[in-house]
C-alpha cells in the first residue's frame, strides 16, 4: 500500500506524461475510467501553464501562432518545473528555453522579444517609488556630488538586442493582422522599460544615454556615468540627462557615498 506522499508523487508524474498509466487506486467520476479522469486534470494543469505564458508573452504568441506556442509551452512546462503556487514567476526562464529549443532555432530574434515581454511583465508588478525632487541635490556638498550613486525606478529594466525587438513587439501586439514588415537587419535596439504611473513604457535610447543608464544601474558614481557616456559622445550633457530622467521618474533617488544599501539592476 502506497503512502500518501508516494501516491501524490506518482500522480504528479502521471499528470506530466500524456501516456502514463494511472495509479491503481483511482476511480473516475461518473463512470469515466481512471485514464480519462487523469486526462481531465492533465488538461487543466497544462491549460493553466499555457494561460500563464500566453498572458506574459502575447507578442511571442502572435509571432509563432497558437500551435507552435502551445508546443513550446508544454515542452517548457515539462523541462522547467513550476516552482510556486503563484504562476506570476513561471515564465522567468522562457527566454533561455527559446534559445535552445530546436524548433525555435531559426527564429533568432525570439528570445530577445521574450526578454522584452518579461521586462514589461515585471515592470507591471514592480514596487512604487516616490519621485525625486532634484532640488534636494542642493543640500549635498559640491565635492561629494561626483561620488553620488543613483537608483532607477524599481520597475526599470535595460534591454539590449541586436534585433529591432521594439518594432517586432509593437507590430505583434498592436497590429498583428496588418502587413507591416520588420527588417531584421535594421540594427540593434537599446531600450529602457519602466512603469510611469499606471502604464509600462518602452523608451528607445541613443548609445550614450544607454551607456549612462547602464553605468548608473551598475552602481556607478555620477563621475563614472559622465566618463562612460562622454567616451561615446563628447557632447553628452550630464545635467540635462539627469533632469530628463528624474522628471520622467526613471531615476528616483540618489545616495551619498559609503551607504551600504545600494543595489543596481540590469538585464
Amino acid at each position: 500500500m502506497q503512502s500518501l506522499p508516494e501516491l501524490q508523487r506518482a500522480l504528479a508524474a502521471a499528470l506530466m506524461a500524456p501516456d502514463a498509466t494511472p495509479p491503481d487506486s483511482i476511480i473516475g467520476a461518473g463512470g469515466m475510467d481512471a485514464g480519462a479522469a487523469l486526462a481531465v486534470y492533465r488538461n487543466n494543469v497544462f491549460a493553466n501553464y499555457r494561460k500563464a505564458l500566453r498572458d506574459d508573452f502575447p507578442a511571442i504568441l502572435a509571432l509563432v501562432g497558437q500551435g507552435f506556442f502551445q508546443s513550446a509551452c508544454d515542452a517548457y512546462a515539462r523541462e522547467h518545473a513550476s516552482q510556486s503556487g503563484d504562476l506570476n514567476g513561471f515564465g522567468a526562464a522562457f527566454m533561455e528555453f527559446l534559445e535552445i529549443w530546436p524548433p525555435a532555432r531559426s527564429l533568432a530574434y525570439l528570445p530577445d522579444v521574450a526578454r522584452l515581454e518579461w521586462a514589461i511583465h515585471l515592470a507591471f508588478n514592480a514596487a512604487e517609488a516616490a519621485p525625486l525632487q532634484l532640488e534636494s541635490l542642493a543640500a549635498v556638498p559640491p565635492g561629494l556630488v561626483p561620488q553620488l550613486r543613483w537608483h532607477l525606478h524599481p520597475s526599470a529594466v535595460l534591454i539590449e538586442s541586436r534585433y529591432p525587438v521594439y518594432a517586432i513587439w509593437r507590430i505583434s501586439t498592436l497590429a498583428p493582422e496588418g502587413n507591416e514588415q520588420v527588417d531584421l537587419d535594421a540594427g540593434s535596439d537599446r531600450l529602457l522599460v519602466v512603469r510611469r504611473g499606471a502604464s509600462v513604457e518602452i523608451e528607445p535610447l541613443a548609445l550614450a544615454e544607454w551607456t549612462a543608464l547602464t553605468a548608473l544601474a551598475a552602481g556607478g558614481t555620477l563621475a563614472d556615468v559622465h566618463a562612460d557616456a562622454s567616451a561615446i559622445d563628447s557632447a553628452f550633457a550630464l545635467g540635462s540627462f539627469l533632469q530628463r530622467h528624474v522628471a520622467a521618474q526613471s531615476i528616483v533617488a540618489f545616495q551619498v557615498p559609503h551607504d551600504p544599501n545600494y543595489a543596481g539592476r540590469l538585464i
Binding site: 508524474a13 467520476a29 481512471a34 479522469a37 518545473a81 503563484d86 508588478n125 524599481p154 499606471a198
Partner: protein, 225 residues
C-alpha cells in the same frame, strides 16, 4: 467596479496570489476598493495537502498581503497541488484517509500559527476519487474543522458537482457541515460535460441546487473578483 462602487456588494473576494507583486495597478485598484469594502482573500496556490514542505515563501507573501489589506477572511482550498519539487498549479483531490487527515490537519495548524489567524478551507469539486478512501468527504471536512479550529468556505456548486460525479447525496454533505464553522459560501454554476459535471464557476446558479441550499443556509449578497 472602481467607478460604480455598487452599494449592494457587501464585501469583495479576491485571489490572494494576484496581489503577491510589490506594486502597480493590481494594488492601486485593490487599495481603492478596500477603502469602501471589506475583503475576503481567497488563495489557490498554497497546496495545504501537498507532500513537500510547506512553502514558507508563499506564506510570507500571503502574510504581507494580509498585513497590507486587513481582510475579514482568509481562505484556501482543501486539496494538494505540488509534489517532488514541481507545482501543478491545479486543485487536486486528496484521498480521504486517516493518513491524509492527519497530514492536512498538521499543515493547516502550522499555517494558522504562521499567519496568526484562522483560515477557511474550501471544499473542491473532483473528477476522481480513491479506492482506498475510508472517510466520506463531508466527514473529512467536518473533522478537519473540529481538530484545527479552521473555518469552512462552503462551495455549494462543488458539493453538487462532486455529488453527481461520485454518486452521493448532497444533502448528507450539507447536513454534516458544522454551522458555526461555515463562514463563507460560494454559489456559482457548472457545465454538464456529459460523462460528468465540470465545475467552471462560469454559469448562473441552477434552480435545482439553489433550492437545495436555500433550505439550509442563508445567503448574503457578494461580488467576486
Amino acid at each position: 467596479m472602481i467607478e460604480s462602487r455598487p452599494a449592494d456588494a457587501g464585501w469583495l473576494e479576491v485571489h490572494s496570489e494576484n496581489y503577491f507583486g510589490a506594486g502597480g495597478q493590481p494594488h492601486a485598484f485593490l487599495e481603492a476598493l478596500r477603502a469602501d469594502y471589506p475583503l475576503s482573500l481567497h488563495g489557490v496556490g498554497l497546496g495545504l495537502g501537498s507532500p513537500d514542505a510547506l512553502d514558507v515563501e508563499h506564506l510570507r507573501r500571503l502574510q504581507h498581503v494580509i498585513e497590507r489589506y486587513q481582510p475579514g477572511l482568509v481562505s484556501e482550498h482543501l486539496c494538494w497541488s505540488a509534489a517532488a519539487g514541481r507545482h501543478l498549479n491545479d486543485l487536486l483531490p486528496l484521498p480521504y484517509t486517516e493518513e491524509a487527515l492527519d497530514h492536512v490537519c498538521d499543515r493547516i495548524q502550522r499555517t494558522q500559527e504562521f499567519l496568526r489567524r484562522q483560515i477557511l478551507i474550501e471544499n473542491i469539486s473532483s473528477y476522481l476519487r480513491f479506492r482506498h478512501a475510508t472517510i466520506p468527504e463531508w466527514a473529512f471536512v467536518a473533522e478537519i474543522a473540529r481538530r484545527t479550529g479552521c473555518g469552512i468556505l462552503l462551495d455549494v456548486n462543488n458539493i453538487y458537482v462532486s455529488a453527481v460525479n461520485h454518486g452521493f447525496d448532497p444533502r448528507a454533505y450539507l447536513a454534516a457541515m458544522p454551522s458555526h464553522a461555515v463562514q463563507e459560501i460560494h454559489l456559482a454554476g457548472y457545465d454538464d460535460g456529459g460523462e460528468c459535471l465540470i465545475d467552471t464557476h462560469g454559469t448562473a446558479v441552477s434552480n435545482r441546487y439553489g433550492r437545495c441550499i436555500a433550505k439550509r443556509c442563508p445567503v448574503s449578497a457578494r461580488a467576486r473578483h
